[in-house]
């Protein structure tokens, strides 16, 4: 479904030097899978997402992505504050020639899916941060994407709101069966959400390790099996940092 093979990415800096961001990234993600890219801040995780979404070009290597409809959720909600919640969700649909009524109906349906029924005519600034992020998720889902890319979507929220949204994300994922690539720097978040975790090292980034989380859904916070994986991942991180 998504396959990266020996992907390298370099940026040309203003002083003429080349900055290598990604070094030899290789991984595969199967259709319908929930995968996390886990790594320290600024290691190039977001660059990988941008490459998958074809928003950026890689320097060398192969990237193959099945399906070109991609939904994106960012760290900040990135909503258009002058549009109502419904019109925000309908924004990605406007490039097609569908009628306005159909677009609205679809937007309202996905607002329901993320638990925002009754808020259709609100403006973003009238909502809390968590609710704004729900709107952003609905906007990403409304195009019925083949792949959902999420770039630290809950890191700006308080822990209680983030926990609630993680549980709902799992519910939505199980209902829709989307392929999700989730970027995070939180070990516990990655463990709670994912079937597969790809640990990304510091710049220039490589895939340090691939870990599968073999705990059935729905998962509970405080599950000991999750805790054990978290502990071993923490050890991996310490080992990864001492190697450099």
């Amino acid at each position: 479904m998504i396959a990266l093979k020996e992907v390298r990415k370099e940026y040309l800096q203003p002083n003429g030097e080349r900055l290598r961001v990604l070094e030899n990234i290789t991984f595969e993600i199967a259709k319908g899978m929930f995968s996390s890219l886990l790594g320290p801040s600024g290691c190039g995780k977001s660059t990988i997402l941008n490459l998958i979404a074809k928003l950026d070009r890689h320097t060398s290597g192969d990237i193959s992505v099945n399906g070109d409809k991609i939904g994106f959720v960012f760290q900040q909600p990135r909503l258009l504050n002058w549009r109502t919640v419904t019109d925000n969700v309908a924004l990605p649909l406007e490039r097609d020639n569908s009628d306005k009524r159909g677009r609205r109906e679809l937007a309202v349906k996905y607002l329901g899916l993320v638990g925002l029924s009754g808020f259709e005519n609100y403006y973003p600034l009238q909502l809390s941060g968590g609710m704004q992020q729900r709107v952003a998720i609905a906007r990403a889902l409304v195009i019925d994407p083949d792949i959902l890319l999420m770039d630290e979507p809950f890191s700006g929220l308080d822990e209680f709101t983030a926990r609630k949204l993680r549980q709902e994300l799992i519910r939505i994922w199980r209902e829709t069966g989307k392929t999700i690539v989730f970027v995070t720097h939180s070990i516990s978040e990655a463990v709670f959400l994912s079937e597969q975790i790809l640990i990304v090292s510091q710049k220039p980034a490589t895939i340090f390790k691939r870990v599968t989380v073999d705990v059935p859904y729905p998962r509970e916070y405080g599950d000991l099996r999750l805790f054990e994986i978290e502990t071993s991942l923490t050890r991996d991180f310490l080992e990864m940092n001492s190697e450099r």
Binding site: A53, F72, R78, R83, Y123, P124
Partner: protein, 253 residues
């Protein structure tokens, strides 16, 4: 509550005027009634409409020219680093030169006509608009643009749906501000080089030492300004920024 406050503010202003008119002689501060009477005569004779029309005509086209130049300069400077470096000194020169300089130059170049007035207005008022638009673009949320790219919106759609709505409040604010400048410049141009318009009439009555007529024309001018502000700008702005008005700003925690 706000309406009462607004009315109170205007009433107290008129009261202060009334009191001053009792203290000073009518040749220095004519009272509200004498001024209203002079204004009514101007309206009845049709003079008020003719000169107001002339001034509004010049201000209107001057404003259009101001906004067109200002938006063009501001957009170029906001979007391109080269244009910014190249045009910045022009805008600074434009801002620094007194409006009277433009007025004199335009009247000498183009003659004593409406065209000269309109060009003078546009030339003196556009730098302020340009700076406002320029800063508006610089302060724009570029993350929203990359969101548009991520959802594969076309370039045109991004400009129309993401960039322009963010600029709109800046354009509106610049336009209100520009209107004020345009009025002021227009009266100056009319005073030195025109034979019609409110500025011309002010100069005319100044020559005849008629304070009540000077006040009458000034008041007429103010009333028209208020009408434009409250009947046109305020409602339009309120409609376009509805999404913001509903949210109170939490100043105290």
């Amino acid at each position: 509550m706000n309406t009462i406050l607004r009315i109170l503010s205007i009433v107290s202003l008129v009261l202060a005027w009334l009191i001053l008119s009792f203290v000073f002689s009518p040749t220095i501060v004519p009272g509200p009634f004498a001024v209203l009477q002079a204004m009514w005569e101007n309206v009845r004779s049709g003079q008020a409409f003719y000169h107001l029309y002339k001034t509004l005509f010049r201000v209107g086209f001057g404003l259009v020219l101001t906004m067109a130049l200002g938006i063009a300069f501001g957009t170029a400077m906001g979007l391109s680093r080269r244009a910014e470096v190249f045009l910045e000194s022009w805008v600074m020169v434009g801002l620094t030169l007194p409006a009277i300089v433009y007025s004199i130059i335009c009247l000498l170049w183009f003659g004593l006509n409406d065209f000269a007035a309109i060009v003078a207005i546009g030339a003196s008022a556009f730098p302020a608009v340009g700076i406002s638009i320029w800063q508006g673009i610089k302060g724009m949320d570029t993350q929203l643009v990359s969101m548009g790219n991520a959802f594969k919106l076309s370039r045109g759609a991004i400009i129309r749906k993401i960039i322009f709505p963010q600029l709109l409040p800046h354009i509106l604010a610049a336009m209100r501000y520009a209107l004020g400048i345009c009025w002021k410049i227009c009266t100056t141009v009319e005073l030195i080089g025109m034979s019609s318009g409110v500025g011309f009439m002010l100069n005319y009555w100044f020559g005849l030492f008629s304070m009540s007529q000077v006040f009458a024309w000034t008041l007429l001018f103010l009333l028209v300004m208020f009408a434009i502000e409250y009947l046109l700008f305020k409602p339009v702005e309120k409609r376009l920024t509805k999404w913001r008005n509903d949210v109170p700003i939490p100043l105290s925690a």
